[in-house]
Symmetry: C2
Subunit: 410 residues, 2 copies
């Protein structure tokens, strides 16, 4: 949680955090600013002190609305600095950082850098800054993920944001089911009033409209994939594919608050009209593992990787190949059991080999699935879960898990 930042910085031996880039669609910056139009900005947080946001004067009011202490970037007179260093933008930018640090009283120590930035900017400007200021040490967060560790556990406000996104998500999912069921089947496919088959593209257009109506963003697209495509986990679905009865449809929706805020992540698998035996069996296997995980296997403070191991075991007991037997696998259980969820759609904790545990405060997805593209089917079920302080697991948005959506014949 944000309140842990100073302690996390202390234990990582960090004296300052430097977060750069726009406020929106930039998780590290949004974490401090919320949804405001500041682009670009720099935020510096010294250990034990409140963060300070540096921005262009045109965006001073947006910056002030964050409630953060702000400073005017124009006061550093970039063009003068540029002249001073012979027109080299790297040197001028590094020099400006040096002056910004000095204004906050930072002249030495370890500084961790954050933000979604052009690779070249991070590589060249921060190497130049390191050269200019040998008295500081610039560190990344791949081995010192202080800000990501803080973000790994959520405070009440963040959970509430996620819950609201969950409510918006199941509202959209419910509308999707009703929309599909408002169509009738003819010759094994859903048809529109004009007699033409309903397509995945038609459904996705409606999903986008409902997302907008719910006041949320859909920046990553939605997975709505049928048959063979449902058997390829990240296949988004072919817009021109028709909605045939008796095929698995994997519907994975990951909406986000406006401006790049908190996410929700949710998957159901549907068969329109009926489920053939093979598809029903696939679903039953996934459902059995899903229920086992949710009711028995998952416990607060367990290693997340242990849950992945356990999921592989359960699928193997059913006779399915799993990714722990072969990293390159493309049929069976081929991915991870879940991931943390917040400002990033994938964030700490991860279920990969690591010391990540399901500690109180985390929000994680639980998403077992089975994929057999060559047999024209796939199935995944996914809920988003919050681990309470007392160890209780809360599914942040409830929605029926049923496979078959009954459809009327035309």
């Amino acid at each position: 949680m944000k309140q842990d930042l100073d302690a996390l910085m202390e234990s990582a031996g960090l004296d300052a955090l430097l977060v750069s880039g726009p406020a929106t669609h930039n998780p590290a910056m949004f974490y401090f600013t919320g949804n405001v139009h500041v682009d670009p900005g720099d935020l510096i947080k010294l250990r034990g002190q409140a963060p300070v946001l540096f921005c262009n004067p045109m965006e001073r009011e947006q910056a002030a609305s964050t409630g953060l202490q702000t400073k005017n970037l124009a006061e550093y007179r970039y063009n003068d600095l540029l002249n001073q260093v012979g027109g080299d933008p790297l040197k001028a930018t590094a020099l400006r950082y040096q002056k910004m640090f000095a204004d906050l009283g930072l002249e030495s120590g370890r500084v961790a850098i954050y933000g979604l930035l052009d690779a070249a900017y991070s590589y060249e400007v921060f190497n130049m800054l390191q050269e200019l200021m040998p008295e500081i040490e610039i560190v990344g967060e791949m081995r010192n993920p202080v800000l990501k560790l803080a973000r790994e556990t959520k405070d009440e406000d963040e959970v509430e944001h996620t819950r609201k996104m969950g409510a918006a998500t199941v509202e959209v999912v419910g509308k999707t089911a009703a929309y599909l069921q408002s169509h009738k089947a003819k010759d094994g496919v859903l048809v529109k009033e004009n007699g033409q088959p309903l397509t995945i593209g038609d459904v996705k257009t409606k999903i986008n409209e409902w997302a907008i109506a719910a006041g949320v963003e859909n920046p990553h697209g939605v997975i709505f994939a049928i048959g063979r495509d449902a058997g390829v986990p990240h296949n988004l679905g072919e817009p021109d594919d028709v909605l045939a009865l008796g095929k698995t449809i994997v519907y994975d929706i990951f909406l986000q608050e406006p401006g790049g805020g908190y996410h929700f992540d949710f998957t159901r698998t549907w068969c329109l009209g009926y489920a053939p035996e093979k598809e029903q069996k696939l679903y039953d296997d996934v459902r059995e593992v899903f229920d086992r995980l949710m009711t028995e296997e998952m416990e607060a403070n367990m290693p997340f990787a242990a849950l992945q191991d356990r999921t592989c075991e359960l699928f193997e007991e059913q006779g399915h190949p799993t990714i722990r037997q072969d990293q390159m696998i493309q049929a069976g259980y081929v991915h991870s059991i879940g991931h943390g969820l917040g400002l990033d759609v994938h964030e700490l904790p991860f279920a990969r080999p690591s010391d990540a545990v399901l500690k109180p405060g985390v929000i994680v997805t639980i998403e077992p699935g089975l994929y057999y593209p060559d047999e024209g089917m796939g199935c995944r079920l996914e809920d988003t879960v919050f681990v309470h302080a007392d160890g209780r697991m809360e599914v942040l948005a409830e929605y029926p898990l049923d496979l078959v959506l009954p459809i009327e014949e035309a």
Copy 2:
């Protein structure tokens, strides 16, 4: 243009480009892939050779749909590499890049890095890679902007994408005007059927709906700011503000193709019902400069910074303070005359001191404006212009420049 890449790499002394991160909302990657769900990916282009896209096996079909040559990242067995280097993700990732380079036959030379990435990843992984492979030189693009230079000029396909975004934009703007004019005024503000005042939040909700209906994204928000807020260039407007008659409304809309594709950028200033003398004068001054720039001043191959200088001169002749007199200015003409537009909403060429010229193939905005927040007003007019090979300037979406939107009294 993309076809210039090899020549640009040659003149910059680059042997390879390495582009990393997701395909969507990552301009450097989208430039090669278009709108597909590959996240994350790595693309390597050796000089004189076609680019190769490395992706996770789950996303192999999306990757293949780009038409690019693809390779399976899983073949590099990251977990084995991780074990091999004692669990250090930096070293494992750097080692994987080394193997990827080797597979393409790159063992030495200069490699430029691109992509919107976590600052820590760029700083630590690429420094580690540099250490691991002293025979290559990793360079950023702040001083070697090869990819950005290629993107500075647009090919026919890119211009057509931008034109379509322009058509979508003026369609949304036209709907916005009609929506405002469908309301009547009471006591100096627009009112809804229920008698309540129409607010900026109401209008923005409709703008988002129309954008979705037009099949485009609005990832950066829209500026719809009235009165004093219109006098602060990047103020987005207060959702609760009512739409009062006789105040300047700055409406700056910058929509984007789905997945983070090409942008359009467009601004009009409106007064509802009537324009008071002061607001009319403000508009007339901006309009005069806008028309002068579009019809007389702007020429193919002129330095873009010269157009900024000329704009300052014209505004100063009218008696307005300008940013060339004072970098810190917050009243008068306070920003730049325009910028290149493409996969980034601000990209090359820029009108700042530089050697950027309005060469054939560029798409730029032209957006003079005047801001007087303390007098409760601001005005900006902006069109997006393509410079043809023969020097002809094409406004990529035409729309009336009128200030006053007539409004009926209730």
